[in-house]
């Protein structure tokens, strides 16, 4: 009797479980559509002619697919040059971030030095410092150095520490390496630099990939930095170029605006798809240690 009741209970539980699951999937799918829609709309608009863009009722998938928005935009402003500038800044800054934040992360994980733990807390707390507090004196410094309207202010700081978030991320990964590995290498006569390059770095490749991706996206999408430091059009990054294009075209050329926006968004989307694994690993780690 009791056994029967339990069975019935399990059965009804199963039915309600299926119902709950069904509702969950409906929510998940509906939200996915909502979240993906703006990006879909960007792509769709970029490949439509003006008649299609303002058509009533709205046309979801452009037919025919046109490329005139891209060619028109490229004819009006030197977007290839903006693209080149953005790539130069993003890559050189990212290299700086990788080098310096892995050096510092290693020092916080394995080197013994006085005040290390206090400095670690201080470094972490600088994460909460709004960038605006240091922005003005740094701008004045770079102005006095004559670096305004060069790429230097956007690149050089990356080589000096790389930022607390990256240092933290790499330190956490370095700490997962068993210490004995380093100790035995030290006994074998390796210096700290040898250990760092030959043992530590190869073991934290996933973390370095995560840092590289974060840094790439940060610099690629940066707007305020270039807005403050770059003055002449031939130095502009893609963000500044799009901003200029917006002002220059008025806000009615939606097809062209979406075309350039799409080109700006594609590298980050592509990298995210290719390197998703590392990316999510990096973020997940922040959550675990949160």
């Amino acid at each position: 009797m009791r056994g029967f009741r339990v069975q019935a209970k399990i059965k009804s539980k199963k039915v309600s479980n299926i119902l709950v699951k069904a509702i969950l999937y409906v929510i998940i799918i509906a939200l996915s559509v909502l979240f993906a829609f703006p990006l879909f709309w960007m792509i769709s608009t970029a490949f439509k002619s003006n008649e299609q863009i303002f058509a009533e009722p709205p046309i979801w998938i452009p037919k025919p697919i046109v490329f005139e928005n891209f060619s028109n935009a490229w004819n009006k402003l030197p977007f290839n040059l903006f693209l080149k500038n953005t790539i130069i800044i993003t890559l050189t800054a990212t290299i700086g971030i990788i080098i310096s934040s892995s050096l510092v992360g290693f020092a916080f994980a394995y080197l013994e030095w006085p005040g290390r733990d206090i400095w670690f807390v201080i470094m972490l707390s600088t994460m909460m410092l709004p960038a605006q507090v240091t922005m003005i004196p740094i701008f004045i410094l770079f102005t006095k150095l004559g670096w305004v309207n060069t790429f230097k202010p956007l690149i050089i700081p990356a080589y000096f520490g790389g930022g607390p978030f990256y240092i933290f991320l790499l330190r956490q990964f370095f700490l997962t390496i068993p210490r004995e590995l380093f100790d035995s290498a030290t006994v074998d006569g390796c210096t700290s630099l040898d250990i760092f390059i030959r043992i530590a770095l190869p073991l934290v490749k996933p973390a370095i990939s995560a840092v590289a991706i974060f840094s790439f996206m940060g610099h690629w999408n940066d707007f305020m930095g270039p807005l403050i430091y770059l003055r002449s059009t031939e130095k502009y990054t893609l963000s500044l170029g799009i901003n200029m294009f917006r002002g220059y075209e008025g806000i009615t050329m939606w097809g062209e605006l979406m075309a350039v926006s799409l080109v700006a968004a594609i590298p980050c989307l592509a990298i995210f798809f290719i390197a998703q694994k590392y990316f999510i690993q990096g973020i997940t780690l922040t959550g675990l240690k949160g």
Binding site: K21, L24, Y25, I28, S32, F35, A36, P38, L39, W41, P57, L103, V104, A107, L111, E112, W113, T126, M128, L129, P130, Q132, V133, T134, M135, I136, P137, F139, L141, Y159, F160, G161, T191, S192, L193, M217, N221, F223, M224, L227, I228, L238, I242, N243, R246, W254, M258, S261, A265, C268, L269, F272, F273, I280, I283, T284, L285, G287, L288, G290
Partner: protein, 299 residues
């Protein structure tokens, strides 16, 4: 033996300088130094060309009687109070749903995270297109499906801030991913034990999942507060602060004073006020955290 040891010590010292000198220089040149400098500048009148002139508290006095400053603070607080809870709680709900052993987790996770990857100018333009009052797809659909005349969104004094909040929710995938990481780090034995004890799903969520991810909730809350206070690009691109200062965010005001009018002293004072406001909120968050955030060592 002694000689060997001293060589080791020397090596350690060398390693220390090798690894840390870039960071030390960076801390002095790009963090510590500028922090002190901007504090000092905030008591001066400074336009970069002429040397700074000490003017005491007059920047601060001027700021607190400036209507535009008050407006920018109001607008920013409104935005923060809308965007922070919606993002922190929305991300938690989304992560909870995705954590129910659903099929295709990595696909859903990717879709929700995509908007975070594409930030900046491109996304700002995208939203001003989607929410365009006349030709935007949102208003078109509202008209077609519900027969409602949609609001003017970014172009309306009343709807500008809600529009920015809506746009910020699109980035909810960022905190969601961090929650998911936290949730997946909870040992499954805990759930198994609870199930044996006859706990329902809701009970184990309230008594296991939530307490164990409170540190993550706290992390997301603090980073979200700090981040939303500094909103700049969308306002600069979409509204330039308008209409009628309805979206004149704090950092937009600061940016204009610093880099358009070259009021470096005044802008430094604005930056320090922002810093203090964010600091106070963070300290409050940390204080309150003692009551609700669960840390394992304290068990």
């Amino acid at each position: 033996m002694r000689k060997k040891k001293s060589r080791l010590v020397q090596q350690e010292i060398k390693a220390f300088y090798l690894f840390l000198s870039p960071w030390i220089i960076g801390m002095v040149l790009f963090t510590g130094g500028p922090l002190i400098a901007s504090f000092l500048f905030s008591f001066t009148s400074y336009d970069i060309v002429k040397p700074p002139v000490w003017c005491g508290l007059s920047n601060y006095k001027e700021i607190f009687s400036d209507k535009i400053f008050i407006q920018s603070l109001k607008v920013t607080l409104k935005y923060v109070m809308g965007a922070v809870p919606l993002n922190v709680i929305g991300a938690l709900i989304l992560a909870t749903i995705l954590n129910q052993k659903v099929y295709g987790l990595s696909i859903w996770r990717t879709i929700y995270y995509l908007p975070v990857v594409t930030t900046g100018v491109a996304v700002s333009l995208l939203w001003s297109w989607v929410l365009n009052p006349e030709f935007g797809i949102v208003n078109t659909l509202l008209q077609k499906i519900f027969g409602i005349r949609g609001p003017d969104w970014f172009y309306s004094e009343r709807w500008a801030i809600p529009s920015f909040i809506l746009m910020s929710i699109w980035g909810v995938g960022g905190p969601m991913l961090i929650y998911l990481g936290g949730m997946q780090g909870i040992p499954t034995q805990l759930y198994e034990a609870a199930e044996i004890d006859g706990a329902s799903w809701w009970q184990s969520y309230i008594h296991i999942t939530l307490p164990l991810i409170t540190p993550v909730i706290f992390y997301n809350l603090v980073t979200s507060i700090i981040g939303t206070f500094q909103v700049f690009t969308p306002a600069f691109i979409i509204t330039q602060g308008g209409p009628n200062y309805a979206s004149y965010f704090y950092v937009l005001n600061l940016f204009k004073h610093a880099f358009q009018y070259y009021h470096m002293g005044y802008a430094s004072a604005l930056a320090w006020i922002l810093f203090v406001v964010v600091l106070i909120l963070t300290i409050i968050a940390f204080r309150i955290a003692n009551y609700w955030v669960y840390y394992e060592e304290k068990r």
